[in-house]
């Protein structure tokens, strides 16, 4: 009997002197911790889990979120990186959320020491778990879990760099989670030279002092042994080493020293497979993941997992059908899927939507799209299908564990059903219609993890009271899915047709939540079409319906977009800004408030920028980025939009260049470097580079890409060459500038942008004419170019485009010796470009300086001359040219 089994209490009072006798908990085996801090920041320390070179790990209670966490408190000393750097790395990690990754909940500093609060997993590490006898089926199941975690991390842009059994936790619930993303680095983080960034990955070293770099080379990939850059394929290698070891009882490469092991790796000398009951096919799959050359491994973790899963499914079907000798792997996997493992119905449910046949069809349809697009799209769809299976399993397991109500299970499964239908619609589109934007379609598939968020799914789960409406509502839901995938695929006509149809159906059904959703779907397409006049009434109605239907997510999006239309496209900045507090308040009510606040803050910031509230704009836009980064499933296009907007309000050149690079790399990573959207943004924002030479270099590389991709069917193509022409002219490279301007007409026409395109071409011709001594022709072209800008007089942003034309016109008039008219035009240009110096933009200040210099000449040429004002203008212009390192054209 335990020690406190006594009739006398510890205080010496007779127990019988009580009106109730109560049990005490039996003591656990864990030894009492030594002296512990009672509190660390807001955390109540409950016990010590461990300590090492990196610091101490406590169990702690988080009163704000009402849960127990593992709290890592890093040592104050011994980090090469600054606390800010460590914190940024930790913040980045906290954005990663997946059932098979140990979740980081919070990071920060307590008394100057960095802490990381993370999910407390009850269980053992994988090495301990493997110490017990395990069947190959059990081993594979746990590794598949861990592999899904790694794949999710890679998808989010992280590399683990230290995957090994010690860094995987197997919970009491049987779920494996990858832990200690200590050596992670985001893919999209710019990678500087090693010498200049000695602290790269320091958080990791802090976290994993026993990490691969310091003591377990057996799991390291050959490229890591060489000191090269580790990427997702390096993790794949480590994963395969660990799985091989788990199955065969020894690591795949023999050797007593790192040198011997690397020699074996290089030679591809795998030890003989000796695990009992391990099928040869499984060993062959692992051998590919263990290839010395990363190019010869699977392209990504999803592909490796799919190799296992596809094989599993095929063999199982064969086994079930009795069509052949079921191999050992088949038996093994059949045990996995048809055995006692609960919640294994996902694969069957998904089989009709994503299967080898469908995958092959998509691959065939994309054959002409280039290998980059094809690989990217297939990997994206595989990953999406994998995430769906994870989500399905988790929803089911949560229910089995009694952690959620039946209503919540239904809502989660409803959400997953819609995601599966979206996947099906995407696959149909990919195989059925040529010329669609496959990369964006896949990159913007609605996130699966959102289906695990009760607030999100319960909000979406509203159904009409009248059961007879179930059919029409389902049809409407399908229409909305179709509209969404067509919008993301760039089929705006198709998307608008579906959205219009959805609005009509929703009106007929009279079910407000779906009417709000349909109206907003319509608005999104109208935004993509820049049809602001049509978008506004739809937005107002969507907002009203969303509020009526208590769809806070839709209401928040509607008001944020309304603010943008009014403030940016209608020029009613003051009116729009009056909506700002309401937009933020509505965003705060959204089930996922970070993304909603991000969108609202960004739009508010843009309006503030147009209203010349530079400080307010900077604060709003920076907040937008913070919110979107904090959002678990923010749309990456919205995120990069906000990041580019930050560039426009960042004064520091170095910081601006870094922000630009980061945003461009994020887009390139998600869509591919030659994707039109990635190209558009790279071209549009090059003018915000701090250095004239850098901006010219970026555009010189980017602009021809437009012509290489789909013939440059983007208005940004024309803008790109025109901006390049100006920048080259300001650098004194006149010949190159004229050549660039002459390439503007080579850009292919873009649907729905005929007016803008005519404007661009006329402007380019005017530029060439005015710089080649043909001022009359230039005036004609400027007048043509004005047609488009005159039609947009109400938009606040058009003023600069008009000023740019006035500059060309003024120069032409000056050449024609019409100084009075020239002075008028240039005066308008100067006034339209007023405040250009407020933005960290290269072009606008240079246009302003050019206009000022020409105006000075006009003022001197006209009668009577105004030498005083001319001198002042000349001086200001010269100062700008000197500051930027430019020459006056």
């Amino acid at each position: 009997m335990s020690g406190d089994d006594s009739v006398v209490s510890a205080t010496g009072s007779p127990a019988s002197n009580s009106d109730e006798v109560t049990a005490d908990p039996a003591p656990g085996r864990s030894a009492a911790a030594g002296s512990l801090p009672a509190r660390l920041g807001r955390y109540h320390v409950l016990g010590q889990l461990g300590a090492g070179g990196m610091g101490v790990v406590y169990t702690a209670y988080d009163p704000d979120l009402d849960r127990k966490v593992a709290l890592k408190l890093l040592r104050a000393e011994g980090h090469a990186a600054s606390p800010g750097r460590l914190l940024r790395e930790a913040h980045a990690l906290a954005r990663l959320s997946h059932p098979n990754v140990v979740q980081i909940h919070d990071t920060g500093a307590i008394d100057g020491r960095i802490f990381i609060a993370m999910e407390l997993v009850r269980g053992v590490d994988l090495r301990t778990w493997l110490a017990q006898p395990r069947s190959p089926a059990e081993v594979l199941r746990v590794f598949l879990d861990a592999g899904r975690g790694l794949a999710a991390a890679h998808e989010a842009g992280f590399v683990h760099r230290d995957f090994k059994p010690d860094n995987v936790l197997v919970g009491a619930d049987g779920r494996a989670r990858v832990a200690d993303f200590g050596l992670v680095r985001q893919h999209d983080e710019p990678e500087g030279p090693a010498a200049s960034e000695p602290d790269r990955g320091t958080l990791s070293r802090s976290l994993t002092m026993t990490g691969a770099l310091l003591g377990t080379p057996a799991y390291m990939s050959p490229e890591q042994h060489r000191g090269g850059t580790a990427d997702a394929r390096s993790d794949q290698f480590s994963f395969c080493v660990a799985l091989w070891e788990a199955l065969h009882g020894q690591r795949p490469f023999a050797g007593d020293s790192p040198a011997a092991i690397t020699a074996a790796m290089q030679a591809g000398q795998l030890r003989p497979a000796r695990g009992a009951g391990v099928p040869g096919e499984l060993t062959r799959i692992l051998a590919r993941g263990l290839a010395h050359d990363p190019e010869r491994r699977y392209p990504n973790m999803q592909a490796l997992l799919a190799a296992l899963a596809v094989d599993r499914g095929q063999r199982r079907r064969r086994w079930l059908a009795g069509l052949g000798g079921a191999g050992l792997l088949a038996g093994l996997v059949a045990a996995l899927t048809s055995g006692p493992e609960p919640c294994s119905g996902g694969p069957e449910a998904l089989a009709g939507t994503w299967n080898p046949e469908r995958r092959a069809a998509v691959g065939a349809a994309l054959a002409g799209a280039g290998s980059d697009v094809s690989t990217r799209v297939l990997a994206g769809l595989d990953a999406y299908a994998g995430a769906w299976l994870d989500g399905h399993r988790e929803a089911c397991l949560d229910h089995r564990r009694g952690e959620q109500s039946s209503a919540l299970l239904d809502a989660r499964m409803g959400c997953l059903d819609r995601r599966r239908e979206t996947l099906a619609a995407a696959a149909r589109l990919l195989t059925g219609e040529p010329g669609i934007d496959a990369a964006q379609l896949v990159a913007r598939l609605p996130p699966i993890p959102a289906c695990a968020q009760p607030a999100v799914v319960l909000g979406e789960a509203q159904v009409p009271d009248d059961p007879s409406l179930a059919g029409p509502v389902a049809a409407l839901g399908a229409e909305l899915i179709e509209a969404r995938v067509r919008l993301d695929a760039g089929d705006l006509d198709g998307a608008l047709t579906r959205a219009d149809q959805a609005v009509r159906r929703a009106r007929a059904v009279g079910f407000e939540p779906l009417l709000a959703e349909a109206l907003l779907a319509q608005v999104r397409v109208l935004f993509a079409r820049s049809r602001w006049d049509a978008a506004r009434p739809a937005l107002v109605e969507a907002l009203t319906r969303a509020v009526e239907a208590r769809r806070d997510d839709l209401a928040a999006e509607a008001i944020a977009r309304l603010l943008y239309v009014d403030g940016v496209q209608s020029g009613r900045t003051a009116e729009a800004l009056r909506l700002a507090p309401l937009a933020l308040a509505m965003a705060a009510r959204a089930p996922e408030p970070h993304a909603a606040r991000g969108l609202a803050s960004n739009n508010i910031g843009v309006v503030q920028l147009l209203a010349r509230d530079r400080e307010g704009a900077a604060a709003s836009i920076r907040r937008a980025v913070e919110e979107l980064l904090a959002a678990p499933h923010a749309d990456f296009i919205e995120l990069t939009n906000a990041m580019f907007n930050v560039v426009m309000v960042t004064a520091g050149g170095e910081e601006r260049h870094a922000a630009l690079t980061r945003a461009n790399e994020l887009l390139a990573a998600r869509l591919g470097p030659r994707h039109p959207v990635a190209l558009d943004q790279r071209a549009m924002y090059a003018r915000f580079e701090p250095e004239l030479g850098q901006a010219v270099a970026t555009l010189t590389e980017a602009c021809p890409e437009f012509l290489a991709v789909a013939g440059g069917a983007s208005t940004t193509c024309g803008t790109c060459f025109q901006h390049l022409a100006y920048l080259q002219m300001y650098r004194g490279d006149r010949a190159a500038a004229l050549a660039s301007a002459e390439r503007v007409p080579a850009c292919a026409p873009e649907a729905d942008a005929a007016g803008q395109e005519a404007h661009q071409q006329a402007r380019a011709r005017a530029f060439v004419a005015v710089h080649t001594g043909r001022p009359e022709a230039a005036l004609v072209e400027v007048a043509r170019a004005r047609t488009w800008t005159d039609g947009l007089r109400e938009a606040a942003w058009i003023a600069r485009a008009v000023a740019e034309l006035e500059l060309l016109r003024g120069r032409a008039l000056l050449l024609l010796n019409r100084p009075d008219e020239a002075a008028e035009a240039l005066g308008r240009a100067v006034s339209g470009l007023a405040g250009a110096g407020d933005r960290p933009d290269l072009l606008a200040p240079l246009w302003l300086a050019e206009a000022q210099a020409l105006l000075a000449r006009a003022l001197l040429a006209r009668t009577p001359p105004d030498p005083e004002r001319a001198a002042a203008l000349q001086e200001t212009a010269a100062a700008t040219f000197v500051a930027v390192g430019a020459v006056a054209p």
């Binding site: 019988s16 002197n17 009106d19 109730e20 006798v21 109560t22 049990a23 702690a60 009694g402």
Partner: protein, 330 residues
């Protein structure tokens, strides 16, 4: 301990008042482990002879005739209403209902009660914001040490919790708003006007530590544990197999426990024969739905009190609705 019953006592208070304070005395040796009420002592908090296992915020007397007056500022001597903020924290508000004092600010303040028209004082002498939970959440809660001056004996300053009388600064008292506990029938009753003051060795305190109380959501249900869940917990803690209020145990007897929601997990492997003698019982709101190894005594004792509780090996208890499973450690 008996007192006049106020006319407007809520139902649960009335029940407490009219039910004998102790269960019937066990007879002879056969029920020697029924330690529920051998001497009718109490481990409920009390100041002298004024027990306050529960107090009414509106000033109604409890079953012992004790009513709440308020909290008195030791410096200004101004009396303030007793207010509970959050889960279980005593606070003093200003005229705008903003919190003026809380937590350790209230050390040295007096808890003023009234019994038979006379004031009764206890003094807050310690505050602990981190009393550890007994469930997996790790969610700590607040406890207080309230002491009083007893002029009748040698030791004059005593903890209001009788079991801890000689540790006046030990914070072993917690507050549970909106509920009272029938310590005889081992059931909880809800009423927002009433506040329970529970000592560390009482079932209400332990149930709270296990996450079963009105002021905290249970598991991930978004709501507190239901009355049935809380009753089952009281039955389990007090070894009330029969459900009528008898406890087949003694104070400080250890037991290994786990609930169905998984918010309380056994601290050792219940299947480990080196640690565990065997399954004790499986519990619902009416007591044990099956019983194999009584905490104290033997099955015959229980059988004599309430015949018919099956052995756990004879029922498919895993598929029967239950709240707790307990095992008897070696």
């Amino acid at each position: 301990m008996t007192s006049p019953v106020a006319r407007f006592l809520p139902l649960f208070a009335a029940l407490s008042a009219v039910t004998p304070a102790c269960a019937p005395e066990p007879e002879g040796d056969e029920l020697e482990f029924r330690t529920t009420c051998e001497t009718c002592g109490s481990n409920s908090p009390q100041i002298d002879d004024a027990p306050f296992p529960e107090l009414s915020l509106s000033g109604q007397p409890n079953s012992a005739g004790v009513s709440l007056v308020g909290l008195r500022d030791p410096v200004t001597q101004v009396l303030h209403p007793l207010v509970i903020a959050g889960r279980d924290e005593l606070v003093v508000l200003d005229e705008n209902d903003a919190i003026l004092y809380h937590g350790a600010d209230l050390i040295d303040w007096f808890l003023v009660l009234e019994k038979d028209g006379d004031p009764v004082f206890g003094q807050i002498v310690a505050y602990n914001a981190a009393e550890p939970a007994l469930d997996n959440s790790g969610r700590p809660f607040n406890t207080y040490a309230i002491a009083f001056v007893d002029n009748s004996g040698i030791v004059t300053t005593k903890n209001v919790c009788p079991t801890y009388w000689d540790e006046p600064t030990n914070p072993v008292l917690t507050i549970i708003a909106g509920a009272t506990y029938d310590r005889v029938l081992k059931r909880v009753q809800f009423d927002s006007d009433w506040v329970t003051f529970a000592c560390k060795d009482q079932a209400a305190f332990k149930a709270k530590a296990l996450g079963y109380e009105q002021n905290v959501n249970f598991a991930q249900t978004g709501a507190p544990a239901t009355q049935d869940q809380q009753d089952a917990t009281l039955k389990m803690i007090t070894a009330d197999y029969c459900g009528g209020g008898f406890s087949f145990t003694e104070q400080n007897t250890s037991v290994l426990w786990a609930n169905t929601a998984g918010t309380v997990l056994p601290k050792t492997d219940p299947n480990d024969p080196n640690e565990i003698e065997g399954i004790e019982a499986v519990w619902n709101q009416d007591g044990a739905i099956c019983l194999t190894t009584p905490r104290k005594g033997n099955l015959a004792d229980v059988e004599a009190e309430c015949p018919g509780i099956p052995l756990c090996s004879n029922v498919d208890w895993a598929n029967m609705a239950h709240e707790w499973v307990t095992w008897k450690p070696l």
